[in-house]
């Protein structure tokens, strides 16, 4: 690159800005010191504490259960929505599917809080309400990915299938589904990631005693900060990192924001 040294410089600065803070978090998770101040020595102790922490383990179990359930539900509903949006061009559905994604999360969180308690009473909030809440905002992501995938395909393929003797159901099973499958899987992985990481919406819709990993992290940050936070953060990062890499292989267009 000829005279673009400034472009490289500014870009490297941006990349550094993105990665240095996270590197510090990961680094200090191995630091043999209670304070996140300076490096003392290498240790696994914070990770060990994690696995002894019952509250943390319960939160991890909840997070996983919620993420698996919500991402599956969102995949089914989101795929149906994506297909419907592409094929039938409805007027109301896109709005309902995409707004939860576009709006600040706090609005969805409080409105569901009000809804659940008004309709189901004071004790309404629980694991189930969190799953419902997560599904609601994940549907949009799956729908966008599936719709983008359908938009990029030659429409006449579906007509050709029927022309050659396939019923609408056979066309869906043998042609449509295999072709959108990479997008569907990417959508599932994205939903899983979003659900595991979600803080704001979960914050407003969990019941008493139901905690998730992000909520645990929040409590620890506010109450007593120890590098245990670093440790759980690092583990979370590794998990979601894997999901994103796999998802990006399956649906590269989705990450670039098309559709």
């Amino acid at each position: 690159m000829r005279r673009t040294w400034w472009l490289w410089g500014a870009s490297l600065a941006a990349y550094a800005f993105l990665y240095v803070p996270l590197t510090i978090v990961v680094l200090f998770s191995f630091n043999d010191s209670k304070l996140n101040a300076e490096w003392v020595g290498f240790t696994w102790s914070w990770y060990r504490t994690l696995f002894d922490d019952d509250a943390m383990l319960a939160a991890a179990r909840n997070s996983l259960f919620i993420a698996v359930t919500a991402s599956l539900a969102a995949t089914v509903l989101g795929t149906m929505a994506g297909i419907a949006m592409h094929r039938y061009r409805p007027r109301l559905l896109p709005f309902m599917v995409l707004t939860p994604v576009a709006m600040p999360e706090i609005l969805l969180g409080v409105s569901l809080l009000v809804f659940f308690i008004s309709v189901f009473g004071e004790q309404a909030l629980s694991l189930a309400t969190v799953i419902v809440a997560h599904t609601t905002f994940c549907i949009g992501f799956v729908a966008i990915i599936v719709r983008a995938r359908l938009a990029g395909m030659d429409e006449s393929i579906f007509e050709a299938a029927r022309d050659l003797g396939a019923t609408p159901w056979q066309t869906f099973r043998l042609i449509t589904l295999p072709l959108i499958m990479p997008g569907v899987i990417a959508g599932t992985l994205m939903s899983f990631t979003l659900s595991i990481d979600d803080f704001v919406i979960t914050f407003f819709t969990t019941g008493v005693g139901v905690s998730t990993l992000p909520l645990q992290i929040y409590t620890m940050i506010k109450v007593a900060v120890t590098p245990e936070v670093n440790a759980v953060s690092t583990l979370l990062m590794v998990l979601t990192l894997t999901m994103i890499v796999v998802a990006s292989r399956l649906a590269p267009d989705a990450l670039r924001g098309q559709g």
């Binding site: 007509e159 050709a160 029927r162 022309d163 050659l164 003797g165 396939a166």
Partner: protein
């Protein structure tokens, strides 16, 4: 009884009438072409035959049976789409096997038939490849094989050669004719390319704005166009405004402003005083030096306005005394000589008394 009958079919889209009361009878074993400019309704008609659209009025009958209640997947009619529509996630063999699977054929029968189909389109080694690995011409042949493998009653082809380059297009045209002749399936071919239609078809239906204007063999469509639209659309044509002076079984006498009297071939039902046009093909117009060709009835002196040399022939645009310009073709058969005439030269153009057609608009 005709194999495929289109009876008074009409299809409207809001204020636009795409297909206007069309009636056509297609015979078994025919290579039948729907020819016309874009928007003339030919593709709409094709889609109705395939079952992806329903007529607003009229009926489409196969072997005398109305197809109205039958969805596309149940019709023994297959389509070769303009974009080929090969399933990207299936191999060539799997693509071709698809209609056989839908028809519930046994695995053994499928594998035999697929092999046969691949041989027929000269793609024996390509069975295990995926569509994206094939060239345009190869994809086309897979689409053809797929449409023919379970022997439909009719094969519909929607501008299948459109995406191919000129040379490949010509090759495919020969292959198509051979294929249709060997297999004997009825082809209904849609195109706007009239040389192609003339080359491939047994019969052509020329369509304009939703109506069939002329239905005939290629030679009659070309040589005896029924009106100005057909004459102008098919091949190149000189159009001269003319009025009928005399009409007899032996021929017509036409009056063209500024040129005088012109002899034209007889036409039924034409009466003196009628106005219309004389449609004259460029190859019917002889061109020569000013002092030649006195034996032809119609001759005029003109000036060469322009010329186009394309290797085997030269097209001359000659300006006639009344200001109109006509095209004349001259084969460049004398080797080594590029042109006989230059721009600005005075020439004599002439044509036979039975050349051309008098057409009403």
């Amino acid at each position: 009884m005709a194999l495929l009958e289109i009876r008074n079919v009409t299809r409207r889209f809001g204020p636009l009438t795409a297909v206007d009361d069309v009636s056509v009878a297609i015979e078994a074993g025919e290579f039948f072409t729907l020819l016309g400019p874009s928007g003339c309704g030919k593709t709409t008609l094709l889609r109705m035959i395939a079952g992806f659209d329903l007529p607003d009025a009229g009926a489409i009958l196969l072997d005398g049976r109305d197809l109205a209640g039958t969805p596309p997947e149940k019709r023994p009619i297959h389509t070769v789409f303009q974009s080929y529509a090969l399933f990207p996630h299936m191999t060539v063999s799997q693509n071709i096997a698809f209609p056989l699977k839908m028809a519930g054929k046994s695995a053994g029968e499928i594998s035999t038939k697929v092999k046969g189909a691949l041989e027929q389109v000269h793609l024996e080694e390509k069975g295990a490849q995926y569509p994206h690995e094939l060239s345009g011409g190869q994809k086309q042949r897979v689409a053809l094989a797929r449409g023919l493998v379970n022997q439909p009653r009719v094969l519909l082809l929607d501008e299948p050669l459109g995406a191919l380059d000129a040379k490949l297009r010509e090759e495919m045209q020969f292959e198509l004719i051979e294929l249709q002749r060997d297999i004997g399936v009825t082809f209904v071919f849609v195109t706007h390319a009239q040389p192609e239609a003339l080359a491939l078809s047994h019969r052509i239906a020329v369509m304009d704005r939703g109506r069939v204007v002329q239905l005939d063999e290629p030679s009659k469509i070309y040589g005896l166009p029924v009106n100005r639209f057909v004459a102008d659309f098919i091949g190149k044509c000189n159009i001269l405004d003319a009025a009928v002076v005399e009409a007899s079984p032996g021929g017509l006498k036409l009056e063209v402003k500024g040129l005088g009297e012109i002899a034209a071939p007889a036409r039924e039902g034409v009466r003196p005083g009628e106005r219309g046009v004389l449609a004259l093909r460029p190859e019917q117009v002889r061109i020569g030096p000013p002092d030649s060709q006195h034996d032809l009835k119609n001759h005029f002196t003109g000036r060469v306005h322009d010329l186009l040399y394309v290797g085997d022939i030269t097209t001359y645009v000659v300006e006639l005394p009344n200001g109109t310009r006509i095209e004349a073709l001259l084969p460049n058969s004398a080797p080594g000589r590029a042109t006989f005439f230059e721009k600005g030269d005075t020439v004599r153009v002439a044509w036979r008394h039975d050349a051309g057609n008098f057409l009403r608009d």
